[in-house]
């Protein structure tokens, strides 16, 4: 049905030339799912866009063959391209949170392809939209059509995007990272939805960096790296018996398959929180939101306490409470058995260095004008450090020295996160609060960062409060786990016990949603 031969895409020219895709070939038949996997920047999205003729203004697309149902796409003019888009190929774009026009209602967004391609008579469009939303599992579709994307959850938005992509019943659907940044529970629902589509005879091109995700769905897997396909084959084979070294590395990086770390030797409690409550006012007359609602925790030296929970369950708020960035409405935090929240800001200032935070979005935590070197130097000064230098810190987190002169904005996500870790370590903290430290990174990079954190803990006896919505990640690093729901702790305990034999239904639902990888025959 879809035949791609020797597709290459370059951007710009001369010095600025980027070869994003370098001659890839694919075929896809109706009712089948081909997954394209690869790390960030490997050219997956560019491929997807090139298939729609949307590679971009400065792109040069070349292809030996680009055929859809026998039509030669390379020969299409702008007008004919428009007839392909949405009607013959539906695209579920990357970044669900921003891929819908925030100012238009969901109904109009879904209706747009119907209208443009005159797929159904205008009078029936409304009904068809509701039908589509119902099919894709958007709850209360008749209400949703009148709402705007901002009023929908991430998973709902993703489903709306799918509804819009399949509105004209295209024979081919391209889904670009349809589940990144979604909670595990929602992710599972989306995958089921795509599976249903495939069963109904649609060809699905699934793009992801997460092998665990594609394992659920793909009939075939193509592994991309640097714009090339390095391995291609039936899903079962690629996942269980990867041939290419890179594929193997990708598989290794999938978190959560190792067991939880061994419990550390018993150590004193460094951080202790009791009955923390934080409320936020809500607009109008609504009762204030209890973002954190009576949370207590203990953190021992050298230990990692994982905090899991869905988006909005209060994880970040808890982090800010612990690091005394906001004051709790009730409850207390003690550091090393002494008061922490009850200190005045002045008294606390001297001890601030004992708790450091690594943020979900490291870039915004750096002053945009400062270079890595300046950032680290300031941090060393703040910690009153004499002996260590910026170079030592870079070595500590495994960054090349040459990067010191760059500004963080010019670093990759993984590098940024390492700088953030280096900065936190510069002041020799006792506790590091990691707020989603790897959720913005792709799997292989995330795995490196996690390894780094674990290593540093062993070496320096750090205590981590490790926040993540990704159960696999939490499982890999945490000694104990705390499950948060709506600001309350619903379950807590040793990682193995909680995650292998959850007692609370919420925990169970979280776990069930985690995609399972088939066991691999190690072929090293």
């Amino acid at each position: 049905m879809l035949v791609v031969r020797d597709l290459s895409v370059t951007f710009g020219s001369g010095r600025h030339r980027v070869d994003a895709v370098r001659g890839i070939s694919l075929t896809l038949r109706a009712g089948r799912c081909l997954a394209v996997v690869g790390e960030s920047g490997s050219g997956k999205s560019v491929t997807a866009r090139a298939l729609l003729g949307l590679a971009g203004d400065h792109a040069t697309v070349r292809a030996g063959a680009l055929e859809l149902d026998g039509t030669d796409l390379t020969r299409l003019g702008p007008r004919q391209w428009r007839r392909v888009r949405g009607r013959l190929i539906g695209l579920v774009p990357q970044a669900a949170m921003v891929a819908l026009d925030p100012l238009r209602t969901v109904g109009r967004e879904v209706a747009e392809p119907l209208r443009l391609h005159r797929a159904v008579p205008p009078a029936d469009i409304g009904e068809r939209v509701v039908e589509l939303l119902t099919d894709t599992g958007v709850p209360e579709p008749r209400i949703r059509v009148r709402q705007r994307p901002g009023q929908l959850s991430g998973g709902q938005r993703q489903r709306v995007l799918i509804a819009s992509a399949i509105a004209c019943r295209p024979p081919l659907v391209i889904a670009d990272e349809p589940t990144t940044a979604l909670d595990v529970t929602v992710q599972a629902q989306i995958l089921t939805l795509l599976d249903d589509l495939r069963r109904a005879g649609t060809a699905v091109l699934l793009i992801s960096h997460d092998l665990a995700v594609v394992a659920q769905l793909a009939d075939e897997i193509a592994v991309m790296r640097d714009g090339r396909i390095v391995e291609h084959g039936p899903a079962a084979r690629v996942l269980t018996a990867p041939e290419h070294d890179y594929t193997r590395r990708l598989l290794d990086a999938v978190p959560g398959r190792g067991g939880p770390p061994a419990p550390p030797p018993s150590a004193p409690v460094v951080l202790r929180a009791d009955g923390l409550v934080k409320t936020y006012p809500r607009p109008g007359r609504a009762a204030p939101l209890r973002a954190v609602d009576g949370v207590s925790l203990r953190l021992h030296a050298g230990e990692t306490l994982g905090v899991v929970g869905e988006s909005g369950s209060g994880k970040s708020t808890l982090a800010r409470l612990v690091s005394a960035m906001v004051a709790p409405d009730a409850g207390s935090v003690e550091l090393d058995g002494g008061p922490w929240h009850d200190l005045s800001e002045r008294e606390r200032r001297g001890r601030r260095t004992e708790i450091q935070t690594i943020y979900q979005d490291p870039l915004s935590s750096f002053d945009p004008r400062h270079t890595v070197e300046v950032i680290l130097r300031h941090a060393l000064q703040a910690g009153g450090e004499r002996r260590r230098t910026v170079t030592d810190l870079l070595d500590l987190v495994g960054l090349e020295h040459g990067l010191a002169r760059r500004r963080p904005a010019l670093l990759s996500g993984g590098q940024q996160q390492r700088v953030a870790i280096a900065r936190a370590l510069a002041v020799r903290p006792r506790v590091i609060v990691c707020d989603e430290p790897v959720s913005a990174l792709d799997v292989s990079v995330a795995a490196q960062v996690l390894r780094l954190l674990v290593g540093l803990q062993r070496e320096h006896g750090l205590a981590y409060l490790f926040i993540s919505h990704h159960l696999g990640v939490v499982r890999e690093v945490s000694h104990r786990v705390l499950v948060l729901k709506d600001g309350r702790v619903v379950e807590s305990g040793v990682t193995g016990e909680v995650l292998d034999a959850p007692s609370h239904p919420y925990t169970r639902s979280l776990l069930k949603a985690v995609p399972a990888m088939p066991p691999r025959e190690a072929m090293r």
């Binding site: 866009r49 729609l52 949307l54 428009r82 007839r83 392909v84 888009r85 949405g86 009607r87 539906g90 695209l91 774009p93 990357q94 970044a95 921003v98 891929a99 819908l100 026009d101 925030p102 100012l103 238009r104 747009e112 392809p113 443009l116 391609h117 705007r148 901002g150 009023q151 995007l161 819009s164 992509a165």
Partner: protein, 304 residues
Amino acid sequence: MRLVWSRCGHALLVLWGALTLTFLALHLTRGSVVDAIVGNNTQVTPAVRAQIVQDYGLGRPLWQQYLSYLGRLLHGDLGTSYQLQTPVRAAIAEQLPPTLQLMGLATLLAVTTTLVVAVATARRPAWLRAPFALLEVAGVAVPQFWLAILLLTVFSFGLHWFPAFADGPAGLVLPAVALAVPMAGILTQLLRDGLERALEQPFATTARARGQRERGVLVRHALRHALPPALTIFGLLLGSMIGGAVVVEQVFSRPGIGSLLLTAVTGKDIPVVLGVVAVTATGYVAINLIVDLLYPLLDPRLKD
């Protein structure tokens, strides 16, 4: 409802502040009010001077004059012009329509130009875009009065295209253009930038992927995103348009609030100045209120 009340209170506060500030500043200027009224008519008799002082209550202490002004204002009485010897309200009522017409047409021109040019040139090749971009910056840079004189000389006296001093709509064109140019310059830059930003957003790609044509993406999606910031500036520009109106009215010898204001300030015609400030400050507050109310219409997220 509470919001409306607090808005009104806020507006009154601003109005009061503006009037008080102006009142004080006017009285701070050197030279007595009587002298200003008499002007260079050096042969005025003492009886006439006394009559002026009495009629306008100029003999009272400043704070009494201030309080009585406020008191009368509460009853909608703006006082009597010293120079024109007519009620300020009547003078303003007479001068406001031509200024409003002028500003109205200028606004219309500016908004139309902005929409047309911004939409036509957003994300277009440089050869199409660059000349407009230059014109826009130049439109902001050019001194308004000079532009007005240029327009007058070329299009009225030279080419005879537009009468410059006719009361009818044809006479309104050139002054309105002079007034509209800087506004259009700023707004076009803003709007186009907003459009280009929006066109690079993921949702624009989504729309293209559905088969939407570029024009459709622009008009149906990008425009609504680009309008709100332009609207804010538009409100502010409207508020400060009165300054431009003074200059333009001067060049085109047009009646209007601007000319009224100018002669009143230099002639220390305090009631007129205060009256005009009251009107323009109210206008400013009202415009900002309207902009605030329009905002949620353009960006419904603000309603939630």
